[in-house]
Symmetry: C2
Amino acid sequence: MELKLAFIGFGNVARAFARILTDRKSPFNRDFDLSWKTTAIATARHGCITSADEIELMRAVNCVESGDNLSEVGGSIPANDPTSVVQNCDADVLFETTPLNISDGGPAVTYIRTALSRGINVITANKGPVAFAYSELKELAEQHGANFRFEGVVMDGAPVFNLVEKCLPGTRVVGFAGVLNSTTNLVLTEMEKGRSFEDALVEAQRRGIAEANADHDIDGWDAAVKAVALANVLMDCDARPADVDRKGIREVTADSLVAAKASGRSVRLVSRGRREGTDVRLTVALEIVPLASTLGGVRGTSNALIIETDLMGELAIVETDPGVDQTAYALLSDLIVVHETLNRRQKH
Amino acid sequence: MELKLAFIGFGNVARAFARILTDRKSPFNRDFDLSWKTTAIATARHGCITSADEIELMRAVNCVESGDNLSEVGGSIPANDPTSVVQNCDADVLFETTPLNISDGGPAVTYIRTALSRGINVITANKGPVAFAYSELKELAEQHGANFRFEGVVMDGAPVFNLVEKCLPGTRVVGFAGVLNSTTNLVLTEMEKGRSFEDALVEAQRRGIAEANADHDIDGWDAAVKAVALANVLMDCDARPADVDRKGIREVTADSLVAAKASGRSVRLVSRGRREGTDVRLTVALEIVPLASTLGGVRGTSNALIIETDLMGELAIVETDPGVDQTAYALLSDLIVVHETLNRRQKH
C-alpha cells in the first residue's frame, strides 16, 4: 500500500521523522508492505507547497534547514497557507506538528477538524487538540472513517495511549501520576545538586529543552495540558487545562531540594488524575517522593507515568533521556497503526 | 463469538483467572462480543474432567479449594490424565499453567505441542515452554493456524511481549536489563534494612512468594529462564537457560547492602541481554545501581524491565507489588488478543 503524506508544520520533530522515513524506506516496505510519498508540506516561515506527483522529502528538509523557502524544491506547486493546504491537499495521512497554543489549541484544532472531515487520517504530536477538543475530534474521525492518533502528545514516542489501548484490554484506568515535563524535572534535578533556579533554567534552555520563554513549563501549564490529554483519552473525561488544580515550581528553593535529597527523598512536579465519584480530579503540584521510587528515580529530562488500573494494579512506563528522535518515533508508530487499520479495511 | 476453554493446571493463577472470567462475564460479552464456556480441566492432584456441554467453572474452583476431586462437579466426565485431556478435549483455547520444570520445560512443552498440532490456541503462564522450545512452538502454531501467547511468563500481566509487538512496531530490541525475580528482590530489600539472609527468605516464604525450596530463585535460575524467554521472543534468539552466565544472591552480605544504601546505591539481581555481533549475551548477576534509578527504585516484590531499542532509545516498564491477580490478568489479556485474531479471521 502506498500512502500519500501531508505535513502541516515542518519543524524539528517533523524533519527528524522525515529522516527516519527516508532511512527506513526499504525495511518498512519489506516488513509492513508500506510505502509512501509526500504530496504537501505547509510551514509558517518557509512557505507551503503541494505536488500532483511527489515532493522529494529530503530536499524539503535540506531546504528548510538552509533557511530557504520550500518553493525552491523542484516540481512543487506553491500554496497560500497551511489552511489552504489542509483544505485541498491530496493526502491519506496528515501529520500535524505545529506549535502548541495554550489558550484554545488553535489553529491546530481547525486543521485537524478540516482534515478529518475530508476523511484524511490525522497524526499529531501537538497536545493542544487532545487537551481542547478530543471528544469532538474523535467523533469526527469516526463519522468520516478516519484515524486520529496522537501517541507523541505525552512522553514522546513512549507508548502511553497505545499501551492502554493495545496492551491493557478490559482494564479500567482509575488514576495516574506522572513526571511529564522535562524542563521542570531538569531544573529540579540540577537544583538538587545545589544550582540556583536561574542557573538550572539556563541549562535547560542551553540544551534546547526549554523555550526562551519557559513560563509554560515553569508554571505547570505543559504538565497540566498533558494531564488533561491523559484524562480525556484514558479516563473518558472531557476536561480542559483550566480545570486542573495547577501549581508550578517557582516557589521551590534549592535548600529544600538538597534537604529532601539528604533524607532519601526527591521533589518532583507530578501530574495526577484520579476518579472521584463520576468525576476526575486533575492536579499538578510539587510532591516529595522517595528517591528509590519510580517517580523519584526520574532524573533530568526523563519522564515517567504510573497508571493505576482495576484489573492490573499499578503499572509504570519510564522513558530515559528522550530527544527529538523519540517524538519522531511516535509519528512513525502511529503511521504503522494507521496503515494496519487501512490494510484491514481494504481486505474486507 | 463463544470460545470453548480448557485448563491444564488449575492452581492459584488459573483459579484467580477463573474468578475474573466469572466476575466479568457480562462486561466482556458487551465490550468484546466475547463469551466462553469451559469444556475441560486437568490437574495433577484433583483429577481431570471434560464435558460435552459446559463445566460450571466456579463449582470447579470451589471443589479444588475444598480439597475435593473434580469428578464431584456435576455433569462432568472423568478423564485419565492431563495428556489424554490435551489429546481429546474439545477446545478453542487451552490455558497451560502447570508448574515450571527447570531442566527441560516438560511436560508443559508436550502439552502445548499436542494442543497446537490440533489447531488449538494456547495461552501459558509457564516460563518453561518459552525458554526451552519457543522457536519450535511458534513455528508449530503458524503451521496449524493457532495462536501461542505467553504474556504472563515475564512480569506477570505487565505488558512486556505485547508491549514490543503491539506498541513498538518497526523497532529492533538491542538489549534489556531487568529486576525480574520477586523473591530475591524482596530478600535484598529486607537485607538492606539490616535483616539476615535467612530471616528475609523466611519473610518471602511467609508471604507465599518463594517456594519452600527457594533454590531456583536464590541461585538465579528463575531470573535466567526469564532472560532466555525475553531473548528468544524479543531478540530472535534460540537460547536455553544453560546459556546464561548466571550468578545468584547467596554470597551477598547484609553489611554490603547497608553500605551500598548509605552511599545512595542499591544492590539488585539483574537479568541482562545484549547483542554482541550476531550473538546475544545473557547474564544474571548482582549489580550495584543508583537508588534513584529505574532498577534501584524497584523495592520488595516489584519488577522492572528496561528495553533498549534502536529507534525509541531506552524504555522501561515497572510493575508494583504484583499478586496472583496480575498473572491472571496476563491470561485474560492474551485471551482478548486470541479472540481478536479469530474474529478478524472469521470476517475474511
